[in-house]
């Protein structure tokens, strides 16, 4: 298909009845599906077929959903454009000639193009929210620990969560209802704390009622953003205000360091998570003679793309003796500070709002030569992963015909508030 949304198109039927019985779902290709290729967008795994289902996939099947295919993505989730995929770039259905965002670009595009009712992506530093914003759809990045990661091929395992895409907040919330909840196979999942609402579904929270909602706008997340994006953002805030919400500016000084901290942590974890791909059980063998360290190196050199190699090398460096304290440990300190900062401002606001991406969708090919520029585009999304918090990206409007997303961030396990507020915009 010309849009190159799927890496594998194959139908997996769920059970007959269930909350998603009439729903088609596209699944990002880093989420394990038993008996069906799961490539992570990498040549290293171009023939890898998992012998087991990720927990979220089992839950989709049990809810009656029909999986329609495995979607394209930046290789191992490392990218903001879906252009680092070994299977080629994906077209943005909402903005032809532009990238769909990444790394879950195929999932967002599938929903935007009507190839699936809903989709699953994963978000390590914005990989659900960025493509949702760029493709003009809704994407939810859940609180760390709400959704099981069992079966999600790890990139930055302390940061990432699986979450849904849909054209409406309500549909995304209904998908979250199916995949959320503790899992014995993922020790980091937790039962959300009981509150007045914990018995009701996420979908039920999509009421659009924002009367009395207090919105904090972190000024740091508007700085340096594209003018058209900022204008669209304020229009959306005005819209919410007209429905009874109020906003005030807040400050998150720690986010200045968030991008550096995020990349150090994500790359460090990636260097370890991707170590198993050494040509023995995955990818092409690096040969049978000589030093096995060299054959491993050959297999990895051949099997991984440039962006993946770049991140593995940087991550290895950041963890190395003599640099560990300077980079990895410092990044952990920054992470703790970011968490504190968010906790502080969320005491004075129900939700925080910002543009999801500081820029409209890149033109295809635009960002490939400048990785640093691409990393900086994650400025508004990565702090949320560092803080383990939930966020939603909802379409806010357009600038020059290109989609703009509004990001709402809530307290831990505050998904319902985000769904309520997000649904007011659609």
């Amino acid at each position: 298909m010309s849009a190159n949304i799927f890496i594998t198109e194959e139908t997996i039927d769920g059970v007959e009845d269930g909350p998603l019985a009439d729903t088609t779902v596209a699944v990002k290709d880093n989420i394990s599906t038993e008996g069906i290729l799961t490539t992570c967008g990498s040549a290293m795994l171009d023939d890898y077929v998992p012998p087991y289902d990720a927990t979220v996939v089992s839950r989709l099947k049990d809810a009656g959903a029909t999986i329609v295919g495995k979607t394209n993505m930046d290789e191992f989730g490392m990218g903001t454009t879906t252009e680092t995929s070994a299977f080629g770039a994906t077209e943005n259905p909402a903005a032809p000639g532009h990238v769909p965002g990444g790394s879950s670009g195929g999932s967002a595009a599938a929903v935007a193009a009507g190839e699936a009712d809903v989709a699953l992506g994963s978000d390590t530093g914005g990989s659900i929210r960025c493509p949702a914003a760029f493709c003009g759809v809704v994407g939810i990045k859940p609180t760390y620990g709400l959704v099981s990661r069992y079966g999600l091929v790890a990139y930055g395992n302390s940061l990432e969560q699986i979450g849904p895409f849909a054209t409406s907040v309500e549909d995304a919330a209904a998908t979250l209802d199916v995949i959320a909840g503790p899992d014995d196979r993922d020790a980091t999942t937790r039962e959300p704390p009981a509150d007045g609402e914990s018995d009701s579904s996420y979908a039920d929270a999509a009421t659009g009622d924002v009367d009395g909602l207090s919105i904090g706008v972190p000024t740091e997340l508007l700085e340096g953003a594209d003018e058209g994006v900022v204008d669209t953002f304020w229009d959306a805030i005005d819209d919410l205000e007209s429905q009874g919400a109020s906003y005030h500016e807040v400050s998150l000084p720690s986010v200045e360091h968030a991008v550096e901290a995020y990349y150090v942590i994500a790359m460090s974890e990636a260097s370890s998570n991707l170590a198993r791909f050494d040509g023995v059980r995955y990818g092409e063998s690096g040969g049978y003679d000589g030093n096995w360290n060299e054959t491993f190196a050959t297999a990895r050199k051949e099997g991984f793309g440039d962006e993946v190699k770049r991140r593995i090398l940087l991550g290895t460096y950041a963890l190395s003796a003599g640099y560990h304290d300077k980079y990895y440990k410092k990044a952990q300190d920054a992470r703790a500070w970011v968490k504190q900062d968010f906790d502080g401002v969320l005491e004075e606001a129900d939700v925080l709002a910002s543009p999801t991406m500081p820029v409209p969708p890149f033109e295809r090919g635009e960002s490939l030569d400048d990785p640093l520029q691409m990393y900086l585009a994650d400025a508004n999304t990565v702090p949320v992963n560092l803080a383990d918090l939930p966020a939603i990206s909802v379409p806010a409007g357009e600038t020059d015909g290109l989609p703009v997303g509004l990001q709402l961030v809530g307290p831990a396990f505050g998904e319902r508030e985000l769904i309520r507020a997000g649904s007011a915009l659609s």
Partner: protein, 541 residues
């Protein structure tokens, strides 16, 4: 399936995968580099001059890996049972498949806490896991989940008796980790194999790595420590010595000139003397006997070199059990950088209360002392009787019913002696120990003679698996009843007045005649000693 096809992962069953022709320099079944002493330059050499001035002191530190006995692996639900079928007990987690996540088996933590209590170690409020990153074909994820700066046990000790003196060995730390898989080189050795098979059955077996201070001064101390450690672990029920590969030992050995020890006390060697000394690491040791042999070999090798003025290289050596020598692993193992960092997939586990909640049985050393005090046993018997928990428990069962001395003779000497002769363990008599108790009872109540019990009944019980009663009946060993003997005594006295008067006039030989008469009457089944006593009692009355 062609070599290296990753379609392996479509099916967990297909036995082994291979790493073909890997030229592995210096492969040990288990590898690590953790230094007991600060890092030192590779090529530092002891000069011949320093050593001529005094005696040489041997300094040894150990790193012991023990497999913990748990039903399932440390991070998944796979069985830890041994099997000949390769890759039978595996799942996505222990195979390290993409996306699989570890979940901590609290049984392994419980076993570790027991060990911590037994060695009087500090157990932290919370314990957490780290990743140790290195590439190795037996390591499913190319990192090992282990513990780094928050080990489950720190700063413990174990007291051992070596040739009559007691020594306390400091255990710097003991931590939990996962065992890697195992490699099988086909068609040759490490360097020459046609290909290498990987078996992941072992991958994920819980391991405890126990690191001692460099507190040992001789290979025999090491052996005594390992024996005591194994005994303690077995008492705790967390270890099975019979299991293949359940104990793996790496040792560090340095030779230090006595006059370089500033304190003048060989038990208190300063770090500078340890730093100066070149140290070899000996790997691939798998038993206490092996440890003693390997280290004695290494000690002699190094002392000889020093005495001849030759340099002792700082290197890693491999213990070749079959040849009884240590072999240089040629390539120097450079200081490895394992890039430890926290394993975010496993949240920290609160173990603050576990130490109080988990109880451990009385340990061998305490039990030995109690046996001496409570049952009046000598040290040797007490030691034999506490060699395993099962032996000690059985002794206490027997001693509760019968005379503790008789029980000690029967359990420590007769039973263990006969078992040992047959290369059997007390555990081989599981379910039959009540028969041994019954045998002791037959002796204690004089139903059979001690000699018959020991030489006929016990042996036949072990060899033919018969019960004591069956053997006594079949062999006609039943001692004659007391009344019958007593009656024969009275008759013999009545029928032999001459002998009686000889006895009364002081001829002690006459009693032997009377004993003979009684034995004849009872068909030889009475105990001659008993008869002698009964006659004297009757004659004196």
């Amino acid at each position: 399936m062609a070599p290296h096809e990753s379609s392996f992962v479509t099916d967990i069953e297909p036995a082994t995968e291979h790493v073909a022709g890997v030229g592995i320099d210096g492969l040990a079944p288990y590898r690590r580099v953790v230094t007991f002493y600060p890092h030192q330059p590779e090529s530092r050499v002891m000069t011949a001059q320093t050593v001529q001035q005094g005696d040489l002191v041997t300094v040894i530190g150990l790193e012991v890996h023990v497999q913990l006995e748990t039903d399932t692996k440390i991070f998944c639900g796979c069985s830890t049972e041994q099997t000949d079928e390769p890759n039978e007990h595996v799942c996505p987690v222990c195979l390290g498949l993409p996306g699989a996540l570890p979940v901590l088996n609290e049984g392994a933590v419980e076993a570790a806490v027991k060990i911590g209590k037994a060695i009087d170690a500090e157990i932290p409020e919370e314990t957490r896991f780290h990743r140790k990153n290195y590439y190795y074909p037996d390591l499913p994820k190319n990192f090992q989940i282990t513990q780094y700066d928050e080990p489950i046990c720190a700063d413990g000790e174990l007291e051992v008796a070596v040739e009559g003196t007691r020594r306390t060995i400091t255990i710097e730390r003991a931590h939990l980790e996962e065992d890697p898989g195992s490699l099988q080189h086909v068609g040759g050795g490490i360097d020459t194999a046609d290909y290498t098979l990987v078996n992941y059955n072992r991958a994920g077996t819980p391991l405890m790595e126990i690191v001692t201070a460099p507190d040992f001064r001789s290979p025999s101390e090491v052996r005594a420590f390992l024996a005591e450690l194994e005994e303690v672990l077995e008492y705790l029920g967390v270890f099975d010595a019979e299991r293949d590969g359940s104990l793996r030992i790496d040792a560090n050995l340095s030779i230090i000139p006595e006059d370089e020890i500033e304190s003048g006390d060989i038990d208190d060697i300063g770090s500078s003397a340890l730093e100066t000394a070149n140290r070899t690491e000996v790997k691939n040791i798998s038993s206490h006997k092996g440890a003693q042999k390997a280290l004695a070999y290494e000690e002699t090798r190094q002392k000889n070199a020093i005495e001849r003025g030759r340099a002792v290289e700082q290197e890693t050596r491999h213990w070749d059990e079959s040849r009884g020598i240590t072999v240089s692993m040629r390539s120097k193992e450079e200081e490895k950088d394992y890039r430890y960092f926290e394993e975010a997939d496993l949240p920290p586990l609160r173990v603050a209360d576990w130490k109080d909640e988990i109880s451990i049985p009385e340990l061998p050393s305490a039990r030995r002392e109690r046996f001496q005090a409570e049952y009046g046993l000598d040290e040797e018997s007490a030691s034999k009787l506490t060699s395993t928990k099962q032996v000690a428990d059985f002794y206490e069962t027997v001693a509760a019913e019968f005379d503790p001395d008789l029980a000690a003779t029967w359990v420590a000497d007769n039973l263990l002696g006969e078992l040992n002769y047959r290369d059997m363990e007390i555990t081989d008599l599981e379910g039959r120990l009540n028969e041994v108790t019954r045998l002791v009872e037959l002796v204690a109540t004089d139903e059979i003679t001690a000699k018959n019990a020991r030489e006929t009944v016990l042996r036949s019980m072990l060899d033919d698996e018969r019960t004591p009663e069956e053997i006594v009946d079949a062999e006609g060993l039943g001692k004659t009843g007391e009344d019958e003997v007593q009656q024969a005594v009275v008759e013999a006295i009545d029928e032999n007045p001459d002998a009686v008067s000889d006895y009364e006039s002081g001829d002690d030989g006459a009693i032997n005649f009377l004993v003979g008469q009684v034995m004849q009457k009872t068909g030889g089944s009475a105990d001659p000693g008993d008869v002698n006593q009964l006659l004297r009692a009757e004659l004196e009355a």
